[in-house]
Symmetry: none
Subunit: 247 residues, 2 copies
DNA sequence: TTTTTTCGTGCATATTCATGCAATATCGCG
DNA sequence: CGCGATATTGCATGAATATGCACGAAAAAA
């Protein structure tokens, strides 16, 4: 393994996982911890990451409510993202909803991926920058501060002439009998419209959303093609109609 | 084995494997490591790969252009941004172009600002998150990787029914006789269309852009209402029709 | 506090690199 | 064909780089 190659691998890993642990990396890459520490020191000197005791963290964990959420459950989301990433196949056309979980998905996509990503989230769109072969179509409209995505008539209209191979749809709550839910009516309508235009629907859920409830229904559980969830007990009713990827 | 043949084989191998290791190649091709190293040196000089200790790697696509630019001239841009921020007055409706300079502008806006910001840049839109009283309208369309903004027919159409108090327009070059210019025709058309819909046009320019040239004209110097520039000598011809803020 | 883990530095070793030089091969041209 | 010019290759040498280990300091954990 070339030194420079290892360093860029570290940076990729940092982007995907949100942190680096020197000890784990030394085992995984079969080099001494000293070597990893040296790498981290040099990358930090180049201003590419921030050294901390035990490993390293991204430089500017951008501020703001959304990113604060990103900071939470980082591991869980990164793990879900690694599971979900293969669903974005080469040549496919994917809708990606907003939210920190989907931001983690973007970070987990391989750099050489060749696909089309359609989103109404400026954060997701910005994350496509590192993917040179990905075409990104941004759906415009009025940005809703609560979730930082474009919604409203304009955004709805822009969906009109699109069709997706896969739609990654997020929500704030999920229950087998009530389906996928969220806290805002406008959001729910948009997510439902996006899901309807997709050949398959993928839903990534962190543990605390499962079994919870929220006022506005996005879609039935049966409409979900693939669920990506942590390895927690799930009702059997799900597995009948839905693929479930467990982390 | 001919030298050129070997070199092109090296490039093929680099594409396939994502890296080259000098020692392995010398064994495999039955030539000395010196020969391989010489090849790599020459290929690197031709800009076809990146030499590293032990071999070579593909040319670094790693640095996203925007990310890299954000890191550069940070101080200068922040200073321009402080000057330009008061142009975004309470209650006004502003168009903000993409680019790292405008990202700095967003960072310089006061948290209590109450205004409407319209942009075709996902990065700018994401930056409005920390401004709770700012309404953001995102212009959608196909994202152009080069500049990470939405362009094309969709984006153009979305401009149609909008009018701005101020438009912040960027460019890659400016000269008093040639006006504001950029490197892409599609970009130039969009910027011009945005500027036409604004009561006043503000242009923030870092020093290296002044007096430079680029192929596509956005607008005449006379169409610029306010220029925000570093404190460098400027032709008198400007000050006649344009406000100039010096840092 | 005590204990454990991680860090930084200095140092030793192994690998890789750049340079100069010589041997050989190839080409250009009369 | 002959002969010089140029290019290619391999080798030797000293420099630069990469890595691992040891040891005391610093930080985190108990």
């Amino acid at each position: 393994m070339l030194t420079e190659q290892r360093k860029s691998l570290l940076l990729d890993r940092l982007r995907a996982d949100g942190r680096l642990v020197a000890k784990d990396l030394s085992l995984e890459l079969a080099v001494s911890e000293d070597t990893i520490r040296r790498d981290l020191r040099e990358l930090a000197a180049d201003g590419l990451l921030k050294r901390v005791h035990g490993g390293a963290l991204p430089l500017a964990p951008e501020h703001g409510p959304l990113v604060r959420r990103v900071g939470l459950k980082t591991d869980e989301k990164a793990q879900l993202a690694r599971l979900a990433a293969p669903l974005v196949t080469s040549g496919s056309v994917c809708f990606v909803d907003g939210g920190s979980t989907h931001a983690a998905l973007l970070n987990a996509l391989p750099a050489e991926l060749d696909a089309t990503i359609i989103t109404h989230s400026p954060t997701i769109a910005a994350a496509t920058e590192r993917l040179p072969r990905v075409t990104c179509i941004l759906i415009g409209g009025t940005i809703y501060k609560q979730s930082m995505v474009a919604l409203g008539a304009k955004a709805h209209g822009a969906l009109g002439d699109l069709a997706f191979d896969v739609a990654f749809i997020g929500g704030t709550a999920f229950a087998p009998d009530r389906g996928l839910m969220t806290v805002d009516r406008e959001e729910a309508l948009f997510k439902a419209a996006a899901a309807e235009r997709a050949a398959s629907v993928a839903v990534m859920l962190t543990a605390e959303k499962i079994g919870a409830s929220a006022p506005f229904k996005i879609m039935d559980a049966a409409a979900i093609t693939t669920m990506i969830v942590p390895d927690v007990p799930l009702p059997d009713t799900l597995t009948a109609s839905t693929d479930v990827l467990l982390s």
